[in-house]
Amino acid sequence: MLAKWKLREVIVLSVLAVVFAVVYLLFLQLGTVLFGLFGLIGYDMIFGIWFIVSIIAAYIIRKPGAAFLSETVAATVEVMLGNAVGPQLIISGMIQGLGAEAVFAATKWKNYSTWVLMAAGMGSSVFSFAWGFYVSGFAALSPGYVTAMFFVRLVSGALLAGLLGKYLSEGLAKTGALSSFPLGKEHKRNVTV
């Protein structure tokens, strides 16, 4: 998968993943507070933030595998930073990354419009929910409650991952730091035209 990648792209992807691994760990604490206030559904409200690096990396680099790899690396770094969720987090990261990657794959990695980015966030929501259903034993909960959790997570994925990811990436493009990446080039074209 990485054979067609330039080293520059791989390192930028890794660095994005490292930065967001720290962000993810901070949000884990916020998540626990919401969890305490609202129960299981508390996590779902901000679940989208945990998919954001997929959206940002795919939107900036625009290569097959960007969404999957960035999320997987972010999860690996979270484990390296010594968070107590442990190595199964890497599996969760892979599954979330696959959810977003599936949506980008459906457009043959060509379309990065707002709708596709939001759909990619929702893709991660769907995949991660299926995984959570098994690992966290949602089957013991009432179907109505589980359905509510699912829809909250879907919205969260679309907004906190899709829209917020797009917004942050465009803010980055404005600084000129992305001038050698597709998003930066696109931004430059739009400004000069």
């Binding site: 791989v10 390192i11 890794s14 490292v18 690396v73 000129g176």
Partner: protein, 259 residues
């Protein structure tokens, strides 16, 4: 034998597979026995200070309690469940209570296994092992290591930004919209700086002859020995033994595809 010396990838797989097995069951005994096993292993073979351990474990106690009440308040009702208490839309059944406790114990069993891994594994060893045993491409592995080394630099940059804002008289954010703006003021420059640094690092790596070729030798080799496989077998064996004991006691309950 010390847990610190077990191959990190094998240790990680042992934890992940144990968790996958534990997720199959909805009974309190299996996770409870696993917790006892994981905690004993951690303290006997890990030489971990109790203070460190409890600091990581305590948040999970809280999470487990929330799991129990979420499952108790919103249980999946089955025909024939014995109702203990009913008030409005809330129904507490004996079976619901047992499933709630099982899920809470499941959270704790995951936590004890994970903490065993976290407290006995060095981050760089884990990455080296992923590259040498699990075929993680060197391009990505060294990329992650480079990124990992950026963290202290990014922290420094964050403090510089903070000071710069203060010198220029940016007021402290109080309301929520102000705080959102403040986060943006930090996040974009920090990310831009990180991306620029990443591009320079890639250039430096290439100019020093790094090709990312998979046929390479390593300065530090992480090996797999028989003890590693013994550890793996023991860990999986213990989880299977827990389920067996639970089955003998008549508690075992499978996940039977309910949606």
């Amino acid at each position: 034998m010390s847990l610190h010396e077990v191959n990190p990838s094998i240790k990680a797989f042992a934890v992940v597979i144990s968790i996958l097995i534990l997720s199959l069951f909805f009974d309190p005994i299996t996770p409870l026995l696993t917790i006892i096993w994981a905690v004993s292993i951690t303290f006997i073979f890990g030489r971990i200070s109790f203070k460190k351990w409890i600091l990581l474990f305590a948040p999970f106690l809280f999470i487990a309690i929330i799991y129990v009440w979420s499952t108790m308040l919103f249980p999946r009702l089955h025909a024939g469940d014995s109702v203990i208490w009913k008030w409005g839309f809330l129904t507490l059944t004996a079976e619901g209570f047992q499933r709630g406790v099982s899920l809470g114990l499941r959270v704790l069993s995951f936590a004890t296994l994970s903490i065993m891994f976290t407290l006995t594994t060095k981050p760089t060893d884990f990455l080296l092992s992923l590259m040498q045993q699990c075929k993680l491409p060197p391009k990505l592995a060294y990329g992650i290591m480079a990124g990992y080394r950026f963290l202290p630099l990014i922290k420094e940059e964050f403090q510089t930004l903070q000071n710069a804002h203060r010198v220029r008289g940016v007021a402290r954010a109080r309301t929520i919209p102000e705080k959102v703006k403040q986060i943006k003021r930090y996040v974009i420059p920090l990310l831009a700086g990180a991306i620029r640094k990443a591009e320079r690092t890639a250039l430096a790596m290439e100019s020093k002859g790094f090709t990312g070729d998979k046929n390479r030798i390593f300065y530090r080799e992480i090996t797999v020995s028989r003890i590693d496989w013994l550890f793996f077998t023991l860990m999986i064996g213990a989880v299977l033994l827990s389920t067996f004991i639970s089955w003998k006691l008549g508690y075992l309950q499978f996940y039977n595809g309910e949606l």
